[in-house]
């Protein structure tokens, strides 16, 4: 309820729904819009990096800087599209695609050894040395039939994740 729902027309909602591949229901999009307006303090139409970081739970996340590059400055439609991978209705492929995009920071469609190392560095910080990270990564790559010079594509990622969907569901609170 509240007055924000009157700012989204039925047409707007349907446009957003088609943009996110129908992964969210109307009520969820309304809740997301309320949240978007809450985070976007001066109604600019997008949420700035600083406003994302004002959510302590997000700022504490080791991958926050990587995700910031993906969500900074998104308008509402793209914001919903980004979050659609976290819907329970999203397919394995859609979820794996988002994971791939997080690794592929230069958006060239290929994830290199270096890209994975960077994510590992974000996740483990100063608690693992670079040598340890290299060792772990080379080892698991070799065991799966890749080398440290391999470039992984989205298809490789889908193959690696196999048939087991990653647990990546976020429930949108609907009140």
């Amino acid at each position: 309820m509240g007055n924000t729902s009157s700012m989204l027309t039925q047409y707007d909602i349907e446009e957003v729904q088609s943009h996110c591949h129908e992964l969210f229901e109307q009520q969820e999009i309304l809740s997301l819009y309320q949240r978007f307006c809450q985070l976007d303090r001066n109604a600019k139409g997008f949420i700035s990096a600083d406003e994302f970081l004002s959510v302590p739970e997000f700022a504490m996340n080791p991958l926050s800087q990587r995700l910031l590059k993906m969500v900074d400055g998104l308008n509402f439609k793209d914001f919903v599209a980004f979050l659609s991978a976290f819907s329970a209705k999203a397919s394995l492929r859609q979820k794996v695609q988002l994971i791939f995009k997080v690794y592929d920071s230069d958006c060239n469609g290929k994830v290199s050894f270096k890209d994975i190392m960077e994510v590992l560095r974000d996740l483990s910080g100063s608690f693992m040395s670079d040598e340890q990270r290299e060792e772990v990564l080379s080892q698991v790559l070799k065991e799966s039939g890749y080398t440290s010079d391999s470039f992984l594509t989205v298809e490789d990622f889908v193959k690696i994740f196999g048939s087991c969907k990653p647990e990546m569901d976020v429930e949108i609170p609907v009140d």
Partner: protein
């Protein structure tokens, strides 16, 4: 964490001391932390737990919920009620508001005409002067409360002036102070504000004994702790009122209490305040409105209804740390006033969380990877 996008100002180390392990409160669905045999490529690449936590925080987080204004539901939405509401607006703005302004002005005149002479003339006789000033401050606060038609119900034994005791309460707006002050002249610890509020603070509140702090100053914490201790030891000082949350919260939640008030080696008397949102939401959202606008909003509403409970005084139990004591008192206040507890430090409104939290996550991740590597 170095930052390229978004300015990350990590909070001072003092904030780290103020709260227990956050991980105990937050849901952690990190499946990678459970060692499940040999490490595979999929396990290493699967960042979904961390991503889910981040997305969950984007979608909804308990910290932002604490500072969300919840105005009362509009009831004027049909053709019969709307004219009635319009009539109400006219009465509120054109009849009640002027009456209230007049009452308040009248109260100020009486107050100033008594306070200034007493303050100047009775400089030598401190005890008498303080006694009169106490009564006068209580009086002007009653006028303030009357100016919003405050309907306050007090439960429990009234505070008494005794040494070695501190009063703590949950914080919703600066009017908390006025509501409590009309019953007892407390000394208070406050953030120094600019403008006319600051003027009031430095003149009138100085007489009941107030301690100032400055959130942005680094060494401030030690100075304030010392001032608190000095005040509480003094026998003739007014009882000290502290809002341990350190910031205004929307009266649906309580944020972490700062342990400063609980380490003064004295009795802590909790006070719970709950506002009834029936006519107006008393939460002062300092991001959205200035205090003047907030006061005007209160003065043009029908009434401010609230309940105050003076709870049983508590002392620190043997073996209890300051933080545990603070949490215990927060439990009491939250229970009494029907507020939900969240594990956040109120100062996160003004600064970013320290890197300690993300470091903890990094540590557990690194440890589990290395542990699984051992399993061949």
């Amino acid at each position: 964490m170095s930052s390229t996008a978004g300015r990350l100002v990590t909070s001072r180390s003092e904030l780290d001391l103020d709260h227990p392990n956050l991980e105990d409160y937050l849901p952690s669905g990190s499946s990678i932390n459970e060692p499940r045999g040999k490490l595979s490529l999929r396990d290493l690449l699967d960042i979904s737990p961390t991503l889910t936590e981040a997305a969950g925080a984007i979608v909804d987080d308990s910290f932002t919920r604490c500072f969300k204004s919840n105005p009362p539901e509009p009831w004027n939405w049909n053709i019969y009620l709307f004219p009635l509401w319009c009539f109400g607006v006219v009465v509120r703005y054109c009849l009640l508001f002027p009456l209230r302004v007049v009452t308040l002005a009248f109260g100020w005149i009486i107050f100033l005409s008594l306070f200034i002479p007493v303050n100047a003339l009775l400089k030598g006789q401190d005890r008498l002067r303080k006694k009169i000033e106490r009564v006068l401050v209580e009086m002007i606060c009653s006028f303030f409360v009357a100016s919003w038609t405050g309907v306050v119900k007090y439960h429990g034994p009234r505070p008494s002036i005794r040494p070695k005791q501190v009063y703590v309460a949950n914080h919703t707006s600066m009017i908390d102070f006025i509501v409590l002050e009309q019953m007892t002249a407390f000394a208070v610890i406050m953030q120094k504000h600019p403008g006319w509020v600051g003027l009031l603070q430095s003149t009138i509140l100085e007489s009941v004994g107030c301690i100032w702090f400055n959130r942005s100053e680094a060494k401030d914490r030690e100075i304030v702790a010392r001032k608190l201790r000095d005040h509480v030891q003094g026998t003739d000082n007014n009882p000290l009122l502290i809002f341990p949350e350190g910031t205004c919260v929307n009266n649906n939640y309580t944020v972490m209490f700062k342990k400063g008030a609980f380490e003064l080696d004295c009795t802590v008397c909790p006070i719970a305040i709950k506002y009834n949102k029936i006519f107006v939401d008393a939460f002062w959202n300092s991001r959205k409105q200035s205090f003047t606008m907030h006061l005007l909003q209160l003065m043009t509403s029908w009434a401010v209804v609230c309940e105050v409970w003076y709870l049983e005084p508590q002392t620190i139990r043997p073996g209890e740390t300051g933080i545990e004591f603070a949490e215990r008192v927060r439990d009491m206040i939250s229970l009494r006033a029907g507020l939900k507890k969240v594990p956040w430090d109120g100062y996160l409104k003004y600064s970013r969380p320290s890197s300690k939290h993300s470091e903890r996550k990094q540590q557990s991740f690194a440890e589990s990877i290395l542990a699984r590597l051992e399993e061949k």
